[in-house]
């Protein structure tokens, strides 16, 4: 498994990672870089995310749902609202959709459906997310179907 069996579709692909737990963000980055040859941008800063999307520097995003330090227009914003914001921004400025994977520790019955519907995200991963190949597979799927 891992990188050899999953030839990265595009070494040029960059994943936007928004995750408030530093260790979890570190894991995503290592998993995506090592098992998938992706590049990663890790940030909790909304203007920076928007700039990355606008410039076309990121092709896909992994968002956490509960974000502690992230603010937008003077108030806290969570991953669900952020997903909608980024999607809108991508559509407006790049003319094409930004595939989004929600990764969250909210794992009670009904959370998946509720969060997917509310965010407009394309796929959903329940934490703990720990298999690098699985994560890479999910991202590749999103890119392929985009």
């Amino acid at each position: 498994m891992t990188s050899k069996k999953n030839p990265p579709r595009a070494a040029a692909c960059t994943v936007l990672i928004v995750e408030d737990n530093a260790l979890v963000a570190k894991f995503y980055r290592m998993a995506l870089e090592r098992a998938g040859d992706f590049s990663c941008v890790v940030t909790e800063d909304v203007p920076k995310m928007l700039a990355e999307v606008e410039a076309g520097r990121v092709q896909v995003a992994v968002l956490d749902v509960s974000l502690s330090g992230t603010q937008w227009q003077g108030r806290p914003i969570n991953g669900v609202e952020l997903a909608r914001l980024l999607k809108q921004h991508a559509a407006a400025h790049r003319g094409r959709p930004l595939p989004i994977l929600l990764a969250t520790a909210h794992a009670m019955a009904g959370d998946r459906e509720r969060l997917l519907a509310a965010s407009g995200a394309d796929d959903y991963l329940e934490k703990p997310v720990y298999d690098a190949a699985h994560l890479v597979g999910k991202i590749l799927n999103l890119l392929n179907s985009a």
Partner: protein, 476 residues
Amino acid sequence: MESCYHLLAIIVRSPGAQQVPAPGIPGRSKDAWGGQEGLLLESFLQEMKRYLGFTEVDARHLRELGPRMEKYFPELAERFYAQIRQHPHAFRVIAGGEAEIARLKQTLQQWARGLFSGVYDERYAGDRSQIGYRHVRVGLEQKYVISAMGIVRSYFSNCLLLEFPASDERLRYAHSLGKMLDLDLNLMCESYMHATVQNLRALNEQLERANRELAEASRIKDEFLAHTSHELRTPLNSILGFSKLILDGLCKSREEEQELLRDVFSSAQHLLGIVNDILDITRIEANQMILHLEDVNPRQVLDSTLPLVAVQAASKGLELHDLSARRPLPSVRADEVRLRQVLLNLLSNAVKFTSRGSVTVRAGVTGTDGVAPSRRAFLRFEVEDTGIGIPLEKREEVFHNFVQVDNSQTRRYGGSGLGLAISRRLVEMMGGAIGLDSGSQGRGTLVWFTIPVVPEAQQESSAAARRPRATATDRR
């Protein structure tokens, strides 16, 4: 970041906030048939009269009968209660012995007189149904009232036999009197009906309230479960993720593996802390937390706890002041392990949520537990930081409500978010109180708690022998 403290706190619900009154017999007199019920009684009376065929003619007959019946009332009363004596079940509602029986005989005569008053209006109905209520309230079953009316009925027919030898005249009066007794009996029994309805209504309300409370409790449990699951998954993500990266051979060097293993280790420690907090709060909620109270030297507790946060404080560039070091402190009555846990919790919160400045500890004796003046002396501990502080309106919440004041803080800084709720319960179980204030410079947060001081007389001896003395079970 609006607030600086741990944010999820579990309810430690204050029990017995509202006591539900047992469904009872409705209160007496006016309110029994007040308001709308008054109208109901009025229409009940009309309906009963119509049903019984009770007319003005009957009223006139009774008015005529009155003077001739008067002389029989004392004997009626005698016989009435002589009969009742023979029914122990009925008789036991008479609590006042012979004196009460004597009084009841009088009231029964009074009642009998009323039968012949000739005016049977709404007021009459009201008075009569009140009599019914008196019986409901003393717990007399309806069947005894009904059969007692039989005693009245047969006694009066004998009286009529004596008074009216001519049968047609007698029948006319007997007929009217019979309707009258039926009317009275119905009015008395209507009270029973009414009381039953009220009881059912009260019972219903009680059930509804219980239902709401259950739903609320179950919602709280669900929230707790959801939150707990969330908190556990985050460190698990790092533990599983990093170890799998190593196992998959995705590390570039042995150094990198070492680094990831350290992350795994710290996440696992974090996880352990959360698990311990969950166990603590669960035990507290289930009343299974047992404290071992003994005479504790607070100096030792402070000295052994402060170093545990000193490293972290230093690494953040925070100053850590112990202003309690200057003066001698009296022994306190506490569970040493739990006292240390509370202190450590407050200290590590302060360090965790302060990015610049200092964390200061104070301790001193006061004559209050911090909430109300007391005859006992307390040792008051204070932990003050120069962080951003907690909004006024959230001060109470952080200690008890099972609400997420701002659970994003919990995630950012780790921890179960249960620390303050646990501390509150522990402090209360040790007989003290805990609270939050703004820091002395008007910024930051000051958390204080009090622990009872060992009485003066016992101070000496206790220092020598620090044996466990008592077990405080949860006082809830």
